[in-house]
Amino acid sequence: MSGALRPPAVLVVDDEHDHALIVRELLAMAEPGLSVELVAGASSTHGALPPSIDGAPAGALVLIDRLLAGRDCYPMLGRCACERPDLTLAVLSAALSEEERGRALAAGAHEAAEKPATLVEWRELLRRLLALSVMRLDTR
């Protein structure tokens, strides 16, 4: 993916801090200079959208962990999809069944996937998600 074709920013919403750091590292390797913000998000599953998501740059890619503090992210996901339709929303989970993937997509995610177990697979997944967000930018 070329540097010119990328989302304006990526938000990583994950209360697994180490996962978030690793994703940021992989994004930095894949797309040097890409703005990446980590959002703990643990207490933000109910009520208003977390300010960092509410104020995310238009067209940003948001990677959301399915479980935040032990709760499904779907309520927050639904609000994101409704209030910020410009964002590309991807749900990631350490374990994601087909049924859960369907629930994530129904809740407003544009993609939902299991967190890969290897760096090679992570790089491939992130490339795919960055391309998806660029494609959505192009079609708006």
Binding site: E16, D18, I22, E25, A28, P32, A69, A94, K115
Partner: protein, 241 residues
């Protein structure tokens, strides 16, 4: 004290289903952290040129990986520790015996509408009940416990003095539902004690502002206790034991 319904224990199959789901999902997360961090270390060590091409310094990337290894290991240990504690609680030998409430609650400040209540005998292994009360008391001493008779149980009511993370249902159901959120917290300790008490016919209801513990009265003592309570003064008494 308001009369409340004794909570029924969650069906074992339901708890098992929740726990298996939590184990299969929650443990994957630190396992992923460990394997990915290991790969990041390998990447940084074996491909320094590639590592330096990215904005973060190689040393910084190594720090991320080492942190991931350390924290992933700790997280795994924390969650396995909770599962181990539940397993041990299921296997633990309990030694039920008959003892008066006053002996079980020694050191607590008892409040009862019936003077005879503290003299009633309960039948259980007292250790888990004492551990539960000590945990709920935190640093508060002496613990103030209100007593009430309800059918074949005596109900202990107290205000928890420890901070708990938000949870739904009971401590045991919450822990079985999410190891990520509750393993390693005081709620996990309460879940283990709840399991030990439920094995003995007791029941626990816990909310932020109030905890209730139903303890079974000794079988032979129940009728005698009921007779003893007939005509007992309906005055509140407060006794520091």
């Amino acid at each position: 004290m308001v009369d409340v319904v004794r909570p029924a224990p969650a069906p074992a199959a339901e708890l098992l289903s929740r726990l298996i789901y939590a184990v299969s999902h929650d443990l994957r997360s630190p396992a992923l952290t460990l394997s990915l961090s290991g790969e990041l270390v390998e990447d940084a060590v074996r491909s320094p040129a590639r590592a330096t091409a990215a904005p973060a310094a190689p040393g910084e990337r190594l720090d991320v990986a080492l942190h991931g290894l350390r924290e992933g290991g700790r997280d795994l240990e924390r969650m396995l520790g909770a599962v181990t504690a539940l397993s041990r609680a299921l296997q633990r030998d309990l030694t039920p015996r008959t003892l008066p409430l006053a002996e079980l609650l020694a050191g607590s400040q008892l409040v009862a509408a019936d003077a005879a209540l503290p003299t009633l005998a309960v039948h259980l292994d007292p250790a888990p009940a004492r551990e539960l009360l000590a945990l709920l008391a935190g640093d508060a001493a002496p613990l103030r416990v209100e007593l009430q008779r309800s059918g074949g149980d005596v109900v202990l009511c107290l205000v928890p003095a420890l901070e708990l993370p938000p949870f739904e249902d009971s401590p045991l159901a919450a822990l079985c539902g999410s190891l990520t959120a509750y393993a390693g917290t005081a709620l996990a300790e309460l879940a283990v004690l709840q399991l030990l008490l439920e094995r003995q016919g007791a029941a626990l209801q816990l909310e932020a502002a109030e905890a209730r513990l139903w303890l079974p009265l000794a079988p032979g003592a129940t009728d005698a206790a009921a007779r003893a309570l007939e005509g007992a003064p309906a005055l509140a008494i407060e006794r520091a034991l």
